[in-house]
């Protein structure tokens, strides 16, 4: 438990010194996947909080169609797909990082996003429409920081140069497209299968009824 706490505190060092921090995590075991998971889930929960409790001026969500489980799902899923996509790409490009390490990089990179999101939710309670740019700037700063952390983190764990990292990221984008396509395909296939089974059972029941009565 003490070790977990220490590792959690270490994330503060990582977001300010990403090259050093991610190196330490990779080779000296200063970070943990469970902590990354924690950040990922907190980020998902914050998305729910943001839709429900952001200030009225910036909150355009329709409360009628609010579904917190779906919001968590949609905020966590992209990161997981990215992890899979990036791993499947970098194995082909001689990346040294494992899937676990990519996952950790992504999770730790979310810390500034979480921090700015919390600040933004609080700030949004007290702003007028004229001050919305400040709010947007805050969120954008968090986003940029996240991108920077992911980029440097992947650089470190895969032992890549700048250009190679860019190339693998582009290919990762392509891989994500393929994954999404396959998911969609599988989804529609399953849907049709379910529909077929439903139809079949209904038909069978009707006929059975016909015979029995």
């Amino acid at each position: 438990m003490k070790q977990f706490w220490e590792k959690l505190i270490y994330s503060r060092y990582v977001i300010f010194h990403p090259f050093d921090g991610f190196y330490e995590i990779k080779f000296r075991d200063r970070g943990d996947a469970s902590i990354a998971t924690l950040f990922l889930l907190v980020n998902g929960l914050l998305a729910v909080v943001a839709t429900q409790y952001s200030g009225f001026v910036v909150n355009h969500a329709n409360p009628k169609h609010m579904n917190s489980l779906l919001i968590v799902f949609y905020s966590v899923l992209p990161y997981l797909i990215f992890v899979v996509g990036n791993y499947s790409t970098t194995t082909l490009f001689e990346g040294k990082g494992t899937m676990r390490e990519i996952y950790i990089v992504l999770g730790y990179a979310l810390v500034p996003v979480i921090a700015t999101q919390v600040m933004a939710i609080v700030l949004s309670q007290f702003i007028t429409a004229d001050e919305v740019p400040i709010y947007s700037l805050l969120l954008a700063a968090g986003g940029l920081w996240f991108v920077f952390l992911v980029f440097t983190g992947l650089n470190t764990i895969h032992d890549y140069g700048f250009l190679k990292n860019l190339v693998t990221l582009a290919v990762t984008g392509f891989a994500i497209g393929v994954i999404l396509f396959l998911i969609l395909l599988a989804y529609s296939l399953i849907q049709e299968l379910v529909a077929f089974v439903q139809l079949f059972t209904r038909e069978a029941l009707v006929r059975l009824e016909g015979w029995l009565l």
Binding site: F56, V57, N62, F126, T128, A129
Partner: protein, 497 residues
Amino acid sequence: MNRTFLVRGTFFCLMVVLFLASWTAQGADSYTYNYWLETVPSAPAYRLKDEINVAGIPGVYNFGELADIHVGAHRVFIVDRIGSQVIVTDHDFEFITRITLFKNEDNRIMTEGGQQMRLTLPEGAFEAENGDLYIADSGYRDAKYGEARIAIFSEALDARGNVFYYVQGIIEKPDNFVGRTQFIPSKLVVDSAYRIYGVVPGGSEGIVVLNADGSFSHYFGTNRIRYSPIEYFWKSLATEEQLAQMALTFAPPFNNIDLDENGFIYATNSDPQSIDKVARINPSGENIIRKEGYLPPYGDLRDPLTDEQSEIIAVTVNDYGMYAILDAGKGRIFVYNFDGELLFVLGNKGRARGEFLSPNDLSWLGDDLIASDKNKGTIAVYTPTQFGQAVIDATKAYYVGDWDQAGERWLLALNYNANYDMAYVGYGKMLYMQDQYEQAMQYFKLGNARSHYSMAYNKYRAEFLSDHFAFFITPVLLLLGLVVYSEYRYHKKGGER
């Protein structure tokens, strides 16, 4: 015995009340759009007051087909295209006279080349400020150009005290007319300087403007169209020769026109390519319609997949900037306020009383809305319900700047329809003007008006800060004091801690 009678009597009365309630609840399927562009049920704002069968009005004969209705100061002009006549009634639709033959001031029929002069398939009528009636004699073909004319009539009394209309002037195609548009106006309006604005079917150059003396002035107010990106791409690639062979894209022609109290032209079009279905055109020909509503004033929400949209074919505007447009496709009337916010939707297609088969024109008649139906040959008169009247009164009061009155009316409207965002906002505006910012915020929030909410919040926050100034300034002062004190101590020790 007595008791059963009482119970049965009550029951019977209840049934009668229920029946009446369901009978009067016509148009109960009314709706509006909310902030998220979902349709929300609305209390009906208008109910059918009467449906007038024009052929059945005592005095009318030889009735053909409704083309246009125009409400003047004391008259209603019903243009009968096939019957080649204009039926004149008063505001209660009591027949006064019919205009078909051209008469001079002495009530004699005018002739031209030995033939009686008469209206030929007229399509539009408009009463100018001085009471003169301008009729677009669209079916007439002159000898020189083979195009139509506009006839100007004035009202007079004959020897027996009956009203008749004599021809005061005839405007044929002006000799200085330019462009490829044919001079066949179908709908027209006349402004306070007696300039004539005529809409020509298929006229892509805009509205034809004639001077008071009948000479051609200019074209006015062309429509903007939506570009499809693909089309734009191919046209940007094409050479000059290829472009010359491609079909030209014309500006969509207007199909109907009205004039507001400030002399601005309201014109509609139903082209699926056009951006604005209803335009408010200023004297320099620009569209200055306001679009403050959840949707621009183009009727129903466009279906993004099928691109199905409302087919707007008529517009009418009253003295308070409220305008109504008519969707021929679904038989609906959309009423907007000056800002372009949707107030009401009424009407639908069908054969029942008050429903539309092929609506083609509408007009304000006081607060009532009247709409003509070509195939049914009827004019439906819709009158505001209590809810509708509250909204109309509020809109009028707001338009003339009577905030308190408007707020009260909006609150009344809220009693009838709690789904009505505009009423929350309207009441909020009153509270805001009365410096009750906290309540105003609450109502703006209910009405989903973020910019107004933000305005009220700004005031509220400033008030809150100045009220609790001490609370906010104390920590700042303390901090400042601490800094000063530490500096003081630091320097007193000669730079050593």
